[in-house]
């Protein structure tokens, strides 16, 4: 365990403060201990992929980073701001951290363009014309500017997820969180979303991504974190982790993943 913990210390990519620090984070749902002493540091511009069996606490951990869930013990510091009950801290974090969900969660009563401009207008207080220009530039980047006037229900799953990415980017976040962004998609749509994410990674965005797409992890991740039963069991560069797993738990997990894919 102590060997595994030491691997979670990041290779410093730059000398500025880390983007995300989780220090001995613990969380319980009632009597169930879902995060156990989770310690993880994500450097600026680092890409971290989180994997692990179902119920291991991956979603819970990533949702703690932008405080969709609250932790009960330990410290979470995002871009220099510690997450507490303070509402101003919450506002700051929410502006700087974008999130993409497994089930897209687009706003069905707003057009694609309105989905993208909502937060810039109401949170960043941006003039409408400017917000629309910004939104169109991101919609072009995810390659669906022609859908701007449609409603989410009229788009395919892959297109919806790309809109969700554009919507998050419109807030110009410094950090992007992804919680299984492709697992609700049909196989033929997974690629278009992964391609968008690879493009985003190339721009130097700090990313934390829960996914079981091993190809994506190998291509993009600086580090892969393996979680099981609420603990960070192993962490390291993708090749090392996948080709030379240290623990039985990771070996078992990898063998199951390979069987499924």
């Amino acid at each position: 365990m102590s060997a595994a913990m030491s691997m979670t210390t990041p290779t410093p990519l730059s000398n500025v403060a880390p983007a995300i620090v989780l220090d001995k984070v613990n969380k319980w749902y009632g009597a169930m201990h879902v995060l156990r002493d989770v310690t993880l540091t994500v450097g600026q511009k680092e890409k971290v992929v989180v994997c692990g069996p179902s119920g291991s606490g991956k979603s819970t951990m990533i949702r703690c980073i932008n405080r969709l869930e609250t932790h009960q013990e330990g410290k979470i510091i995002v871009d220099g701001t510690e997450l507490t009950d303070d509402l101003r801290a919450l506002d700051t974090i929410r502006r700087e951290v974008g999130m993409v969900f497994q089930s897209f969660n687009l706003f069905p009563h707003l057009t694609i363009l309105e989905n993208c401009t909502l937060a810039p207008i109401w949170v960043r207080k941006m003039p409408k014309a400017e917000a629309e220009e910004l939104a169109m530039s991101y919609l072009r980047r995810v390659k669906i500017p022609e859908q701007a006037k449609k409603y989410p229900g009229q788009l395919s799953g892959g297109q919806q997820q790309r809109v969700a990415i554009a919507r998050a980017l419109c807030m110009k976040p410094k950090i992007m969180l992804f919680d299984e962004p492709t697992s609700a998609l049909d196989p033929e749509m997974i690629k278009e979303v992964l391609d968008t994410m690879i493009g985003l990674a190339e721009t130097g965005m700090t990313m934390v991504c829960v996914t079981h797409e091993m190809g994506f992890a190998k291509k993009v991740a600086d580090r892969v974190v393996f979680m099981d039963r609420g603990e960070v069991v192993e962490a390291g560069p993708p090749r090392e982790l996948f080709d030379n797993p240290q623990t039985d738990r990771l070996k078992l997990f990898l063998s199951q993943i390979l069987k499924d894919h």
Binding site: N66, L68, D91, R94, R95, V97, G98, M99, F101, S103, N105, L106, F107, P108, H109, L118, A119, I121, W122, V123, R124, K125, M126, P127, K128, A129, E130, A131, K143, E146, Y151, G153, Q154, S156, G158, Q159, A164, R167, A168, M171, E188, M189, K191, E192, D195, T196
Partner: protein, 403 residues
């Protein structure tokens, strides 16, 4: 992306072919037309028969058709009248107008109160507080299962067990509960009050104008100017200022307890109390269910996605949750408002003189059954259509959704 999705525009060039109808029973289009012609034909035959039959009967009984009876003296005693009424001189027309006003009094107050009470109940039903949510659940289940007529009779009975005037409860200074209904202080209306009211209405228009200016300014600069100080100034300070300038008159007509009855003040009759209370308490059970399902129809993920974008809870509610919940809630809510209005005709059972009760008396005295029924249908049609139109307008305004 690259070839994964086929661009639909590449295939849109050729128009879809038109389908021709075949004159065959196996063609659904042909079948639909035959059925429609048949139904319309049967309806027309029934109407023709009824009209013919009625005319024959009326002629046999020497009853003149038409609405001339409305101008005749009514002679119906009416307890609760919002406009001048004297049974000896007033006409059937006057009596019916009073009936309409009495019905509207129940419908409007009932709809407003049932919306408030039902919404509170619906929210209570979703509360994390076990006792509160259970209590709301029981309320809804029990009240929906008891026939409305029974409930109205119960409330009327309850109102009549209130103490007599001599022992009336004084709830607030000048407000008395007794078996004669509720007594309230009246307010001496003076021109200054009319001017203050006019100032309020002008202020209301000003606030609407200001909020559209605010939206425009927000679109241009990104910053939405504050609305509430302007609203406070225009809706409160301005009317108060007008009232003060005109001498700030304020005179209350307080009810005073006499031996057998009150002197002065205004009265809300026991019949009106029982009817409105009964309708509100009953309809609110349905509204509660509608509100509950509306709130539950918006998935948790919508809150999370909006929150993750940095929107505060208030903004999430206004921009994301309410528009989606209202879309689900408004159509069934409209039909409950219509139900409440139509159910107000059960007034007959507890002696409240609504339009149905007065119309029935008119019909008995004059024998103009067809005109009486036609009038009643017209009245309810107009009320119902007004409610529907308003709700549709509101729905289109607030919850316009295209999918």
């Amino acid at each position: 992306m690259s070839g994964a999705v086929v661009d639909p525009r590449l295939h849109a060039a050729r128009a879809a072919p038109k389908r021709r109808m075949r004159l065959s029973w196996s063609d659904p289009k042909f079948r639909a037309i035959v059925w429609q012609v048949l139904v319309v034909g049967i309806l027309a035959a029934i109407v023709a028969y009824l009209v013919h039959n009625t005319n024959k009967n009326l002629a046999a009984r020497h009853i003149a058709t038409g609405f001339a009876f409305l101008a005749r003296t009514a002679g119906i005693p009416i307890g609760e009248h919002a406009i001048e009424y004297d049974p000896a001189t007033s006409t059937y027309g006057d009596a019916l107008i009073i009936g309409i006003i009495n019905t509207l009094k129940v419908a409007i107050v009932g709809v407003v109160l049932t919306t408030i009470w039902g919404t509170l109940l619906g929210i209570a039903r979703l509360s994390k507080n076990w006792l509160l949510s259970r209590a709301a659940y029981l309320y809804v289940e029990i009240l929906r299962d008891i026939p409305l007529l029974l409930q109205l009779l119960f409330w009327y009975g309850l109102v009549q067990t209130l103490p007599s005037v001599r022992d009336a409860f004084a709830v607030l200074p000048g407000v008395f509960f007794s078996n004669r209904g509720i007594k309230v202080p009246l307010f001496d209306w003076e021109p200054a009050h009319s001017w203050a009211l006019a100032a309020f209405l002008v202020g209301l228009i000003g606030v609407i104008a200001w909020s559209s200016v605010a939206s425009k300014r927000q679109a241009e600069t990104g910053v939405r100017p504050k609305t509430w100080p302007v609203a406070l100034g225009l809706l409160v300070a301005f009317p108060l200022f007008v009232w003060a300038v005109l001498g700030a008159p304020f005179q209350l007509d307080m009810p005073i307890k006499g031996g057998f009855n009150f002197r002065g003040g205004g009265t809300i009759s026991p019949e009106y109390c029982a009817l409105t209370l009964g309708l509100v308490v009953y309809t609110a059970a349905y509204i509660a269910e509608i509100v509950r399902s509306g709130i539950q129809a918006v998935p948790q993920g919508q809150w999370e996605a909006a929150g993750a974008l940095g929107l505060r809870p208030g903004a999430v509610l206004r921009q994301i949750v309410l528009p989606q919940a209202l879309r689900v809630v408004i159509p069934p809510m409209t039909s409950q408002f219509l139900n409440l209005t139509k159910n107000s005709s059960l007034a007959v059972a507890i002696g409240y003189q609504d339009v149905v009760s007065i119309d029935q008396t008119t019909l008995n005295q004059t024998g103009q059954a067809i005109e009486g029924i036609a009038l009643l249908m017209a009245v309810f049609l107009v009320i119902s259509l007004s409610i529907s139109l308003f709700m549709n307008w509101y729905n289109a305004r607030i919850a316009l959704v295209e999918r």
